[in-house]
Homo-oligomer: 210 residues x 2
Amino acid sequence: MAHHTKNDILDAAEYLFAEQGFTQTSMREITTRAQVNLASVNYHFGSKKNLIQAVFKRYFDKLMPDIEKSLLGLSAKEGTQGVELLLFSLIPPMINLSTVSENGTATFVKLLGRGYNETQGHLRRFIMNDYGACIRELVDCIQRCLPSLPKETLFWRMHFAIGSFVFSMTSSQALTEIAESDFHKHIEIEEVMSQLVPFVAQGLAGSIDS
Amino acid sequence: MAHHTKNDILDAAEYLFAEQGFTQTSMREITTRAQVNLASVNYHFGSKKNLIQAVFKRYFDKLMPDIEKSLLGLSAKEGTQGVELLLFSLIPPMINLSTVSENGTATFVKLLGRGYNETQGHLRRFIMNDYGACIRELVDCIQRCLPSLPKETLFWRMHFAIGSFVFSMTSSQALTEIAESDFHKHIEIEEVMSQLVPFVAQGLAGSIDS
DNA sequence: GTCTATAGATCGATAGAC
DNA sequence: GTCTATCGATCTATAGAC
């Protein structure tokens, strides 16, 4: 059936893209993993590039409405604590991505990292075109928590924060293995995010004169 | 002459690797840019994989001794300020990488980011084998600034910090373009690093009970 | 050491039978 | 919608003349 085939391709593709990158993943690998015919990818998605966008669309269509709801239900509070509350409110929508696919959260962030520097800006344009409103709203919320922070400082710190998240997820397998062997406990993605939120909140809210 | 050819290949390769990634850069692109023959890469380096390692080696051989010197000349000071001082002391060695190649600093960090998630751990092993002592010393110095911080918290925060740096450099072109168009001023890499240091210092030193 | 030429593998995409 | 078969392009790596 077509619907199953299409979803099977998406499942296989997102896994391989996240683990290996877009260029390093061939159509043959995808169709083999999805147990469908090689030609079906081009039949259903037209091209590899379209397939990549479809993989992202499945996540963003789930994530963005959830984030908008989280932002609406937020009590405005200033300072580090306000930022930390805001960031914590983003965790449930992120965790919810597990309903899209197994390990959906980590997969999505890995894909985001890959997309940021493998697709030469194509992805950034696609995201800002289709989901720009929600992203701008998120930035505004953070700015309202930190009214005295110059826009330029916030701009850089926001990207530093994204970098922390993307990198820790992209390298999550290696990092989790090291952490588990060093600290003798099982690491879940929720824990990594709980570690990340205070780091990012402190970094974002830090005074600029020191 | 052999020496020139070898260096020309390294110069061309590191530029293309940093901008496009390892897989997306072909030997033909490298040799064309270096204006040398296609076969000379395999003659001088044996394989593409060895070429990648040689590109990294040129940077680490310059960077690691400088970092060790910086750490030795550091007056131990605790807390956020101590971390910030330590991080600031790393900036000159990083800036000095411009002597290795044009835009050496950004190129190196971009390569690091690429290597972290394109080479399936091969690079991590290579780095820890050849330069692990210096890296461990750096971690110890930070730990000494933050004696009350659990090792596990520090572990995660260190990687969040690396992620911030790598991501901002990997996306530096896009980010710098946006920043320049939004804030109407030219952005230099020193400025990005000056923005980064307080962010990372605050994030690293933040209290764990909040 | 540097070149040409090419082997050998793999890729994305498509044509055409069913 | 799904399959086989294959085209045409591109890649890394190497053999062998100079």
